[in-house]
């Protein structure tokens, strides 16, 4: 008789994680828990990333306190999803009061890849790699969206890339089904989407989540692949003591610096946004994007005191200059940037071949009005992907001669069963701790 089948006995997993997998090292940790790299012990092909959710503790004792809603969602969604561009769940093991989600392993992620290209000599990501990444990313998004799944936290660190160049959307820890939710998708989650990738309608207080929110993030990721810097690198305003959600002025300003002020002509529902009244306090863009991701880095010291601007750029956009987008300037400035001779000697090629269609796609994704923003399905049909000379390759590394550095796996903690307490540091990238967007724990 199987002891697990008797409730009087304690619950015991039929599969033990350490019997089935050999942990090779520790990859990263976050508020949710820790991720380990592992090999199969029984000849299972491939490598694995095992996400261990942080167990709940009462004092020193680990106890059952009920699984968090976000873990339940992630387990349920990952069990249903099956697509080449979404990270594949192998199995879930519930053992010793802990949840272990076993995923296929991906050697790289976009954050790493972008970071690698910023290393001296700074050199752009090859244009064909960018095209392939974008196509695969959009393909994964389309799959999620046609299945009523919103990712809600797309950012370079969550986009995995396997060593064979397959792009896989990962970390569905914030994902939700958007088919007729019982509650507004806003309730329950204090923070959704790392602020740099947060869509303007969310910044302006919209409570309606739509797939368009993911598409804005995809636009931001596209821009970051081009310039190697977050295009809208704002600072997050913290929640005040009354727990009211603050207007993310700084982030909105970064967007305005490049995109110009939104107008109700371009975005008819703008005036019904809860934070619409905040718009006049933002500064109009100064001169526009200088390219290379430098847009918005000039001239905004102390924009809190810009009230005198109000008369110049009223809400209706009566000052046309204030609402002019500088994205085109930003784009061409970025793709036509000079490549250093050292980088050229290493085979770096210019992004200028991405041409006008690249701008078109970017502008379609970074469209203020969520209803006009490109959907994943539309974006996949974009001429950007149809242009000759090269067809889109399912391997984003095709033709790339060098090899990207492998994911750093540390040996500090190889004991997945007891494991040291989850910290907040991610091994691998030194600058990652600077990235904002820690999640507020739910429930």
């Amino acid at each position: 008789m199987n002891p697990a089948r008797n409730l009087r006995a304690e619950y015991q997993s039929k599969v033990r994680v350490t019997d089935k997998y050999k942990v090779i090292g520790f990859i990263s940790s976050g508020t949710y828990g820790r991720v380990y790299k592992a090999h199969g012990r029984h000849g299972q092909p491939g490598e694995f990333a095992i996400k261990k959710f942080k167990p709940d503790k009462e004092g020193e004792q680990v106890t059952y306190t009920g699984i968090s809603q976000s873990a339940v969602r992630e387990m349920a969604l990952c069990s249903e999803l099956n697509h080449a561009n979404v990270i594949k769940l192998i199995e879930i093991i519930l053992e010793d009061k802990c949840i272990f989600m076993v995923f296929e392993y991906a050697e790289h992620d976009l954050l790493q890849i972008i970071h690698h290209h910023t290393q001296q000599p700074r050199h752009p990501i090859p244009p064909n790699t960018i095209k392939s990444i974008m196509f695969q990313l959009l393909n994964g998004c389309q799959y999620l969206h046609t299945n009523w799944v919103l990712h809600r936290d797309l950012k370079p660190a969550n986009i995995m890339v396997t060593s064979s160049g397959e792009v896989k959307i990962g970390d569905l820890g914030l994902a939700r089904l958007f088919y007729k939710p019982l509650h507004s998708l806003f309730s329950g989650d204090k923070v959704v989407v790392t602020i740099w990738y947060r869509a303007p309608e969310l910044l302006l207080g919209s409570r309606h989540y739509t797939p368009a929110i993911d598409m804005w993030a995809v636009g931001c990721i596209f821009a970051e692949l081009l310039s190697l810097r977050p295009i809208f690198k704002g600072e997050e305003a913290k929640m005040d003591s009354k727990k009211t959600v603050p207007f993310q002025r700084n982030q909105m300003q970064k967007i305005v610096d490049v995109m110009g002020l939104p107008t109700k002509e371009r975005w008819p529902l703008l005036t019904s946004m809860p934070e619409y009244s905040q718009l006049p306090s933002l500064s109009p863009p100064l001169g526009g994007g200088g390219g290379g991701g430098h847009a918005g880095h000039h001239g905004h010291h102390g924009y809190g005191s810009h009230h005198h601007h109000q008369s110049h750029h009223g809400r209706g956009g009566n000052n046309a200059a204030a609402s002019v987008s500088h994205l085109e300037k930003w784009y061409y400035g970025t793709i036509n940037q000079q490549i250093s001779s050292t980088a050229q000697a290493n085979g770096a090629s210019s992004l200028s071949v991405l041409g006008a269609q690249g701008y078109n796609l970017l502008a379609g994704l970074l469209e203020y009005d969520p209803e006009k923003r490109l959907t994943a399905a539309n974006a996949l049909q974009h001429p950007f992907f149809a242009e000759s000379p090269d067809p889109i390759n399912a391997n984003c590394f095709a033709g790339v001669k060098m090899e990207y550095p492998h994911r750093r796996v540390s040996q500090d903690d190889n004991d997945i069963r007891t494991g040291s307490l989850p910290g907040t540091k991610r091994s691998g990238l030194p600058d990652d701790s600077l990235r904002p967007g820690k999640r507020v724990k739910e429930n």
Partner: protein, 345 residues
């Protein structure tokens, strides 16, 4: 896939034939014949009625909505295809299923509140349980369900199609009630949600009458209505077969050409249905007109009519066996094995 029934884990792993279901249950009983012999239980449908009532009591105390209640009942059904009921405390499983379903259906309840209410509700059989027992049971439940927690419900079919068939509020209510009732049968483990939803609509159209405002459970009492339902399905089947023959077998069976979402109410069906009705014999009885519209729609949409016939029979025979149900008998039988095996501790 999360919102596509055809690709879902529900269809791939939790939809069985009657034979498969019977074999799984037999296997569980055969694992320990002694246990089964020592603690006899009434027929499964009566146990289901009893558990459904417990679910309803607890959900009412917590203000949980029907959608989560429905999902919770499916969880419990799935669980008991894998684990013999006599090895468990069903009250703990009811509470745990509801707790988990509430999270999944986006209306979470605090674990402590659930335990507290369950203790008040079932003082004899739940007193030894606490949040950590419920948390442990949650692991057991999820593990037996292989973490496949997304459940597709027939309510969606009803909401999408009630306009298509001009259901009156009373008919919608009756269909809704029939769906609620089907959770006391094996149907959620046997048929796709849209087949059940359509069966519920059929029963509502044919069986509902104003004198029987309680709907659902009483609807079957209307035997004239049942004959009508059976005729309607036979008619739709004949129509559909004739159509398939005319089309040279183009609409081959086995290729689902519609999904439980969206495309159901797609323009094609509605416009065709409407036109045929207009060409027809201009029926004066609105109920007959409604029936005709429904059968035309069925005949044209490649629905598994066999399945609907079977669902209709299952629901009707369930309503029959409901008459012999005795609450106390089931309760005492369950209590016996809980107490004897110390499952309440």
């Amino acid at each position: 896939m999360a919102a596509n029934y055809w690709e879902s884990t529900q269809r791939r792993y939790w939809q069985f034939t009657k034979e498969e279901l019977a074999a799984m249950r037999q296997k569980l009983e055969d694992e320990d014949p002694n246990l089964v012999h020592m603690y006899p239980l009434p027929q499964l449908r009566h146990i289901n009625i009893y558990l459904n009532r417990q679910f309803n009591h607890l959900a009412k105390r917590l203000g949980v909505r029907q959608q989560a209640l429905a999902t919770a009942q499916v969880y419990l059904k799935r669980f008991y295809t894998r684990v013999e009921i006599r090895r468990t405390n069903p009250y703990l499983l009811v509470a745990t299923s509801l707790y988990l379903a509430c999270k999944m259906e986006e209306c979470p309840q605090h674990i402590r509140l659930i335990v507290q209410e369950a203790r008040v509700l079932w003082p004899e059989t739940f007193h030894g349980q606490d949040t950590s027992k419920l948390g442990e049971c949650e692991f057991f439940l999820i593990s037996e369900m292989s973490s496949q927690l997304i459940v597709h419900q027939p309510y969606r079919t009803l909401t999408q199609l009630q306009g298509e068939f001009n259901l009156t509020p009373e008919e919608s209510q009756a269909a809704w009630q029939a769906i609620n009732d089907h959770y006391m049968t094996d149907l959620p483990l046997l048929y796709p949600p849209h087949i059940i939803g359509l069966t519920a609509i059929l029963l509502a159209i044919t069986c509902y009458n104003r004198q029987n405002a309680a709907g659902g459970a009483n609807a079957a009492g209307n035997s004239g209505g049942l004959v009508m339902a059976a005729n309607a399905l036979a008619h739709a089947q004949a129509q559909s077969q004739a159509r398939a023959a005319a089309m040279g077998g183009n609409s081959g069976p086995g290729t689902p050409n519609l999904t439980p979402q969206g495309s159901f109410a797609g323009g094609n069906f509605s416009s065709q249905g409407g036109r045929e009705l207009g060409d027809g014999s201009n029926p004066t009885d609105p109920k007959i007109a409604k029936m005709q519209r429904f059968t035309n729609w069925l005949a044209e949409s490649n629905i598994d009519i066999e399945g609907m016939i079977d669902c209709t029979q299952e629901i009707i025979s369930f309503y029959d066996c409901h008459e012999q149900y005795e609450d106390l008998v089931v309760r005492d039988n369950i209590k016996r094995f809980i107490k004897a095996r110390g499952l309440d501790k």
